[in-house]
Symmetry: C2
DNA sequence: CCCGAGTGAGAACGATCGTTCTCACTTGAG
DNA sequence: CTCAAGTGAGAACGATCGTTCTCACTCGGG
């Protein structure tokens, strides 16, 4: 077992602890116990707690992007890919330990004091935003639609976390369908909305 | 100057400090300095830091509700009241020290460990939700519209906080207009959309 | 005046945090 | 084998936290 394996073990344990309890609520001793590693090796892998936190967030960025991409790839059409975002969220919200978006949580807890963490959270959101904008451009809708869909996804995450109700993803999907179809109807006014309506009926 | 004045002074100072730096990042000593009060009196007003935090959140609940109500009352129609939410957010986002929704931040930082704070944050969101649902019922739209509009407002708050871009409120308003008008067109299909369209043009 | 209750300023306390150090032990090279 | 380098387990350190205590002082009622 080499250093990279140990790093990944620490990151996995830290991610779970930080996400479920908050960053400042989890000390290095607790992380050592959870990762099954000595404090000495922990500090030679990560010179400070802040390095653990940033590594955890960078790791989570990749996991989140991969998970989302997986859902999107399963959808055949650009419209379906956009709506797959909310299916991805729906499944996520149903997980037992769901506690909101880890980046929003990190920003809320540490963003004001630690600009590096604020930057990581911001970069995560902006890459999601770019992803949405690309798909919106593909279906030929106005760029503002990407903002609208992003707001729904963000709102669903915080609402599901606070209320504990996973149906926020379902509501976000409903609204997204309306916004997408309205945007498409505005850009292609000659085609009637029949296709969109049947598509909507199949999923909703 | 009686005890209530002191209490209010502490709450005001604590609110600013907690909101801009986070809860665990602000100690009681710092709060004492900011409030201009002795540690002794501080602890006889609030037996523990947790009491300060909950008092701050309860206070912020009232301030938030009053501010929103003010914006809503200025709008003549129920539709205008619903859209006033996003004007309220827009002005809020432009404040210098805006750092997202204080309740989401509190939930993110302390909600996992402190169930009392989680409950306050949840209650705040649900009272906002009820407020929206009442107005949606007034304009005769489907209840799901209230969920959609709430998601937009929530998403705007986190997006504006993370990206630092106040235009999230503007985008949320755009999307809200589309969703409201679509919902109204579905509930009253005999009236054409002209009224809604001109209203939209006046505001957007 | 006296006296007791309450106050401000801040030291002190115990807990906990992030981080480093100690020390006995392992291990691979010579 | 010997020895140097690295490790695990955990004590130790300094800082900081929330909270309490000390002590000199104020001040209103007798």
């Amino acid at each position: 077992m080499d250093n990279d394996d140990y790093r990944q073990r620490v990151i996995a344990a830290a991610d779970r602890l930080y996400y479920t309890k908050g960053f400042s609520a989890v000390g290095m001793d607790q992380l050592r116990d959870a990762a099954g590693i000595s404090l000495r090796r922990l500090y030679q892998l990560f010179p400070s707690k802040n390095d653990v936190v940033t590594a955890v967030l960078q790791n989570r960025r990749k996991i989140w992007a991969d998970g989302l991409t997986e859902y999107m790839d399963a959808a055949p059409t650009p419209r379906g890919k956009l709506l797959a975002v909310y299916d991805f969220l729906a499944d996520w919200f149903c997980e037992d330990d769901f506690r909101g978006c880890g980046f929003i949580n990190a920003f809320a807890e540490l963003g004001a004091v630690n600009s590096e963490i604020a930057a990581i959270a911001r970069e995560h959101k902006m890459s999601f935003q770019r992803h949405m904008a690309r798909l919106v451009a593909e279906i030929g809708a106005a760029p503002s639609l990407a903002h609208h869909l992003m707001l729904l996804a963000e709102g669903a995450q915080t609402t599901a976390a606070l209320t504990g109700d996973p149906s926020a993803a379902h509501h976000a999907r409903q609204a997204a369908e309306i916004l997408i179809d309205t945007a498409l109807a505005k850009e292609h006014p000659n085609t009637n909305g029949e296709d969109a309506e049947t598509h909507l009926a199949n999923h909703g």
